[in-house]
Symmetry: C2
Subunit: 275 residues, 2 copies
Amino acid sequence: MREEATAFVPGHITGFFSAHPDDDPTKAGSRGAGLALTDGVSVTVEPAEESVVVLDGEPIEIEPVSTVLSTLNATARVEADSDLPLGAGFGVSGAIALGTALATNRVFGRALSENELVTIAHGAEVQAGTGLGDVVAQAQGGIPIRLEPGGPYENRMDAIPARARIEYVSFGELSTEAVLSGETDRLTVAGKRALSQVVGQPTLRSFMHASRRFAREAELLTEQVGTAIDDVAAEDGEASMAMLGETVFALGTGLSDAGYEPAVCTTHPAGAVLE
Amino acid sequence: MREEATAFVPGHITGFFSAHPDDDPTKAGSRGAGLALTDGVSVTVEPAEESVVVLDGEPIEIEPVSTVLSTLNATARVEADSDLPLGAGFGVSGAIALGTALATNRVFGRALSENELVTIAHGAEVQAGTGLGDVVAQAQGGIPIRLEPGGPYENRMDAIPARARIEYVSFGELSTEAVLSGETDRLTVAGKRALSQVVGQPTLRSFMHASRRFAREAELLTEQVGTAIDDVAAEDGEASMAMLGETVFALGTGLSDAGYEPAVCTTHPAGAVLE
């Protein structure tokens, strides 16, 4: 057994999505599109007497991470260092689950394939209700389009062939669980329309337009987020809302041009990687 | 129209494969596994009066690249700078074809998706007979396992979740076209056996074992390559032969421990990327 292993998992902002529940968590998930980010989560796993998860120095319970560890039959200390806030639409819980799967497989010599590990992390996230599509997007990197829902044995993926500088500002949390457990019909209709727009024109610009329209149609825009998007548009910039968090993201210098003080990163060409 | 765009495409060493011809080039291809490399090809495309391809400063005809340009209805100068030799088992022709597809799409504003561009490059490579599986592996990065043949709409991919330092020495060229147009029954049987070994145990070590056994069973080992593999084994290292080239690759410091003076790189976590 190795002493420890570390995986880096990119953050992931979903621009739009539709929810696709299924009794089988490897088939459940979402369609949609988003941005994998160079800001992400570094996850280190080492064998321990008792399983514990530490996020930025604080012990924390993250259900999908516990599920991943028990699925891989591992008792370990998981230490996650995140560039991104939890619960704000950056896929942090999915990143820790996926990073735990990759690093645990290595430390404990489980000899599973990438698809198997992604399936385990995706299923754990779906079961916990903390996310539907971040894990498969974070496994791929870039600007993933999720054409069909589910884990890697079930889904179909494509991507927008581009790279971009991304700015973001986070005003606070939104509960993915609360939104997804509510009425999602309107959201699903809006998400499908957005997807067909991006499939027809797979460019960054079309992704931003589709994302903004989705946020409006699905009635997910908060006041603060709506104002920031308008402020960016007033400077001819492109911004939208991260699903699901009270977070605005913009291409290029959109937010700083509008007078905000955003965090800055770029899209991350690779998916999750062992270090 | 942009002035120019550049894409970097990782090199790709195939460890073992089986050939799967089909009248439809988007369905034809290979099963197998290999390593995407940080040594690769940088491809810059700019609009021109007449299409021309330049590799490391020398004008050259590369059939799949011409096919990609004509499929995208583009007349362009393609300038490729390669860390790797052509015809020696590194997927250089596939890299130039894929890089041309990505960069041309951007420069000429063709608004195609990643899957569409990879399909075009894969089909062009298969039609030319210069490769069967490099393009889809180079689009993915890492240590790709090609479970089912064909372009991204047809194939199934997995990966070995690992990273490695790679050393390689190239003694010369082998013609992919000549090997693939010959008797491939033995090769196909050996390739399928190797794939099932790696699917059962998706680790780097198992990949190297399966690759060595494949090279022997498919009777593709040249004398010089066989000697180098034995030399590495004598120092407890892991080496095998790049398919298809007179090239030996080793994990870690395998070749330098055995007294060779290899080129050194690592596996490339990301697939082809626009710069």
